[in-house]
């Protein structure tokens, strides 16, 4: 086992529940790399919702809240406001964040509150067996869209940008180094950081979305489509001069007056 990884995970909980080829492992490693590179392990807590990607932080031997579906953001905001000098890292998914958690996303982004949100987008509700999510591409056949989805896919990054997030980026699991650097940047950034990660779900989604159940082929497809521009990746927004929420809210009698 990789030494860095071993020093961060709860060994008693291994093996992880991720399927063979799941992209979540790459996200877990990138997060570990970012936290370690910044040296902030003791000052960082993680919050997640419900879904496959919400299991990522549970394997970290750190303070973690594995919360309820769609509610990672309000839990994380309460935690952050109670301990504003600490770092809070949020793990969520396309369903958890854009469907049931959508309202909390728009308001947290609007507050520009200092959180780092990692939304792992595998285009599906994987944990429950393959139902459509707001991110599922149009015409995709899933367990709840047997005749093909009719909805237009929701772009979480665009939503975050419009609502006021001050650091917004998108990567794929085929870009692990950029992802790790971006996570570190997002944590250092004082404001609402939203990082979307396109990840492969070979078991539930592979054949439908990518035409293959092979994780390696899916990642190659990500890499190729990112290079050609079909998938937009990179840092979309990085503004440091937008006032952050905890800096704006008064925390003492003097400040209030």
């Amino acid at each position: 086992m990789n030494e860095l990884y071993a020093s961060y995970v709860r060994k008693g909980m291994l093996p992880t529940l991720f399927c063979p080829g799941c992209g979540n492992g790459i996200v877990l490693n990138a997060a570990i790399g970012a936290i370690d590179r910044l040296g902030i392990r003791k000052d960082t807590a993680c919050v997640s919702g419900i879904g496959c990607s919400s299991w990522i932080p549970c394997y970290l031997d750190m303070d973690v809240v594995h919360g309820i579906h769609g509610r990672a953001l309000p839990i994380a905001q309460g935690l952050k406001l109670a301990a504003p000098e600490r770092h809070v890292l949020v793990f969520t998914g396309d369903g958890d964040c854009l469907a049931i958690g959508g309202n909390h996303l728009i308001h947290a982004a609007n507050r520009n509150i200092d959180l780092t949100v990692l939304m792992v987008n595998n285009y599906i509700y994987g944990m429950t067996g393959g139902q459509k999510s707001p991110a599922t591409p149009k015409n995709m056949v899933t367990k709840t869209s047997p005749y093909g989805t009719t909805d237009i896919s929701v772009d979480g990054c665009r939503l975050a940008i419009v609502m006021g997030a001050s650091y917004v980026a998108r990567w794929t699991t085929a870009h692990p180094l950029e992802l790790e650097k971006s996570i570190a940047r997002g944590i250092r950034h004082k404001g609402f950081s939203f990082i979307e990660i396109l990840a492969q779900c070979p078991v539930q989604v592979g054949r439908e979305v990518f035409g293959t159940k092979d994780a390696g082929e899916i990642m190659s497809s990500y890499k190729e489509r990112a290079r050609s521009g079909e998938i937009e990746i990179g840092v979309f927004k990085d503004l440091s001069d937008i006032p952050e929420y905890t800096e704006r809210a008064p925390r003492s009698e003097e400040e209030a007056r």
Binding site: A45, V47, D63, G78, R251
Partner: protein, 413 residues
Amino acid sequence: MSGIPKEKDRAEPLVLQGNEACAIGALRAGCRFFAGYPITPSTEVIEYLAKKMPLVGGVFIQMEDEIGSACAIIGARWGGCRAMTATSGPGFSLMQEAIGFAAVTETPIVIVDVQRGGPSTGQPTMSAQQDVYQARYGSHGDYEIIALAPSSVQEMYDFTIRAFGLSERYRTPVIILSDEIVGHMRENVSVTQHTDEGDPPDRGDIGFCSPIADFFTGRNSLVEGQLHNASGERIGHLPNESGRFIAALNDKIRVHADEIADVEAHYMEDANIAFIAYGSVARSAMTAVQLARGVYNAKKRQGFSVSGIFRKGLSFALHDDYRKLKVGLIKVNTLWPFPENALRKLTRHTRLVVVPEMNVGRYVREIERVLPGVQVLSYPKCGGEIHTPQELLDQALSAIGAEGMMEDLSSDE
């Protein structure tokens, strides 16, 4: 019974509104985080704390909805801050999933429900006691809850302080089940100059998990909503462990029901008829009992300003039969866990119990269940108006007639 500030520590009385007193009690109990959403008739709590929280170095945030509010206070408590939210029926419904999450993760939080008429939008500005069972069983799954029912502005203050102590001691969400009448009435309150939480938490014999390990204290806590072991690792797929978890989670509070119970007995020494009441209705019941016993003091008026509702009840001529009633009042301050031992003990010489409630008759069902030897009469009143003392005495009289207890009226001590 722990958690009530001592008499000697009280300062000169102020006149406060119920909701204000609740907010002040929270601050006195060390609450430094409030997340909420406006809803009538609880809005004064959020507005008071919006102003005061920053002044004491605490955090106030109006969240986008009640679900966000309930979740934020859970996150805040793990961040080391005592936290509270306030709402009414519809918002309370929204919070139920989060309450279950707090119950299973054993997160101490306080939730104030200033009840109003339901269901749904119901009667936004009228009082009711319709959330009694929602407080107990609102979330899915098997868990216990602690719910306190203040009936005065003083109790809004005292019970809120007690709620924080109980939530920390038993590591559980605690509901303050107030109502619009109590939330909006104005009365004298004696506030303490300092926090008094009663006995310090003694977790030696409580529960099956270690004391709450706040984040950033090096404990690496895994807070998990699935059934879990002491390390936070899930065990939901293991039937025996899961069964034990549920039993322990419920026993944690159930076994300590007597310690948590707060039930007052008034004029019960020789009473063969009793009102069992809670919340604002208990005030009316107290007046009724004092009138029947001939001890009602019009000037002292139970120490509160008399509203029009009570004035109506006071102006009726006291029928002779009323004065013959040997009626007492059992005032229940802790609705949940259900104080069955206290109720059994207090009613061992009681033949008839009348349970007035501003709902269709809810708490009465628990009372019936545990007092099989007593005639239990439900006296529901919906619509938003509280039972008047006259109505209560009329009900007691007609119940006596119906139960064939007329001879009780003329019997001497």
